[in-house]
Symmetry: C2
Subunit: 312 residues, 2 copies
């Protein structure tokens, strides 16, 4: 691809949680899935650009887990290993058709004391993904980054409910804000995404991306609008991490092109869409890891074919 895997690809910093998840769906289940926003984000980004991870794991994080991330070429100099406890653990159960998700247990473990600390080399990262963690921790990352970095922040309903002032303080400092349609509604009071988008831009970030799950995504960019349907998936195995890998692929793609014009962002959102479609086809990162670049690229071509209206 013209805009990826180029030798000019810039490094991407991914900061977030690294976790073990125990997930039960109507059809699948696993009690020890390598997950967390930084894991999904960094693995997705790694297909497009050199990727660096900042996070924390505990004394139960194995050599095999490390090898798995290194296998994707991810730089782990910023991964803190805290021997005082176990890795962040989350367990949840999905209902029929993934219409509901219930958290059974959250054990923060070593993540409770996590302070993101950027190794010297990471501080000048030209692209950074602030994965879904507390907005105050996301702000700490910005404090350490040198000016001029293109920063992308993801969030979730929990922070809109319980850390809204921190989130509102973060937003003017980020370049691109990603959230889903329900969160956009919750944060702006607007149910219509085309009204919510500009309201979110007025909170600070020049670029806003609203995800609509199985209905695709809408990009609000100073140069214009872009709307894309989801990649057709006929069997969802586990939606966990879809948003994180969407964000990771998006940032990776921008770093690969070293450009954030709307033309590049259209392609990046399309690559993010197909990367997320692979994530949901298995528990954890299994499917994405196995599918690899070839399948991402094949789906990208299929997505262009799926959405092209024709010549005007």
């Amino acid at each position: 691809m013209e805009n990826t895997k180029r030798s000019s690809a810039q490094p991407v910093l991914v900061v977030g949680s690294v976790a073990f998840d125990a997930i039960k769906t109507p059809t699948d289940g696993n009690n020890r899935i390598l997950g967390g926003s930084a894991t999904y984000g960094a693995v997705a980004s790694s297909f497009f650009a050199p990727t660096r991870l900042v996070g924390v794991v505990g004394n139960d994080f194995s050599e095999a887990d490390i090898a798995r991330l290194k296998g994707r070429g991810i730089d782990l100099e910023g991964l803190q290993i805290d021997q005082s406890g176990e890795t962040f653990f989350w367990s949840g159960v999905y209902g029929e058709n993934f219409a509901t998700r219930q958290t059974l247990e959250t054990r923060l473990n070593v993540f409770a004391h996590f302070k993101p600390t950027l190794p010297a080399e990471y501080k000048s990262s030209p692209y950074a993904l602030l994965g879904n963690i507390q907005p105050s921790l996301q702000s700490m990352v910005l404090d350490q980054l040198t000016a001029g970095s293109f920063t992308v922040a993801d969030t979730m309903n929990l922070w809109i409910d319980h850390a809204r002032p921190d989130l509102l303080a973060l937003l003017p400092r980020v370049s691109l804000f990603i959230l889903n349609d329900e969160e956009a509604h919750q944060l702006t009071g607007e149910a219509n995404v085309y009204l919510a988008g500009p309201k979110l831009q007025s909170l600070g970030p020049k670029i806003v991306l609203i995800k609509k799950g199985a209905h695709g995504a809408v990009l609000f960019h100073p140069e214009g609008l872009f709307s894309i349907p989801a990649y057709p998936v006929t069997r969802v195995a586990d939606p966990t991490g879809a948003g994180d890998s969407f964000a990771g692929a998006l940032v990776g793609c921008l770093a690969a092109a070293h450009d954030t014009s709307i033309a590049t962002m259209r392609r990046a959102v399309a690559f993010a869409t197909v990367t997320a479609s692979l994530t949901v086809e298995s528990l954890g990162i299994d499917r994405l890891e196995q599918a690899g670049w070839e399948e991402i690229d094949r789906r990208y071509a299929a997505l262009i074919k799926l959405t092209t209206i024709g010549c005007s």
Copy 2:
């Protein structure tokens, strides 16, 4: 536009209900709106191809109503005027954000005895829209059409619930079947549109189009898939007739190009999308009528811009 308003445009037959609607929304209301599936369908089609209407009206249908349809160039030879009673009347109220619709009253009036009868010239119509009415009446239209007509059938939840055998008998006889995602789920048992689409094709129609309201539409065609988001609308005034005008514009566009390949259908679905976006911006056909071809064409160009990923 290359594919519309050409001198080779074929005539379109539209059959359905002509009604007066009394509608109340959270922001608007009117007790005598010219509506019905044939009205919306024929008006939409009239922007693209010569259009003929078959339906029935009563003794309260005024010269001004007739003039309004004729003003769009619609051939009304097939419009029956039944002096024995009043025109089909429906009244309903929409809830907040149009999440709910409650029927207050339905008076079939002269529609209760309606039997679609095609004037001789209409029987060879190369394109026909069987607007949303009872499937048994839609079948009566097919009985009168000569072989080789490209036929499009629309439906609604009422017929899936109460006239399923008639609908299942109709489907193998139509070329293209249009319905929304909830109806597709209801008819096939599949919540996933990409599973429901092929199931619907297996019921007979070679081409199936599933509408997803504010989330766009997906086309299932023997030559491939096509997915399109909705045109961005920031103020919905009244969604009544959106589906009917979508269908009318779609058929009109195919008739204008006199082609039903996937390449033409992609453009037709896009024109249908923008035509429906105008319909929802007012009660009845007011906005669509006033906007005219220029606004349809402008929105079509904007929709291409909105959805283009880029060069592969």
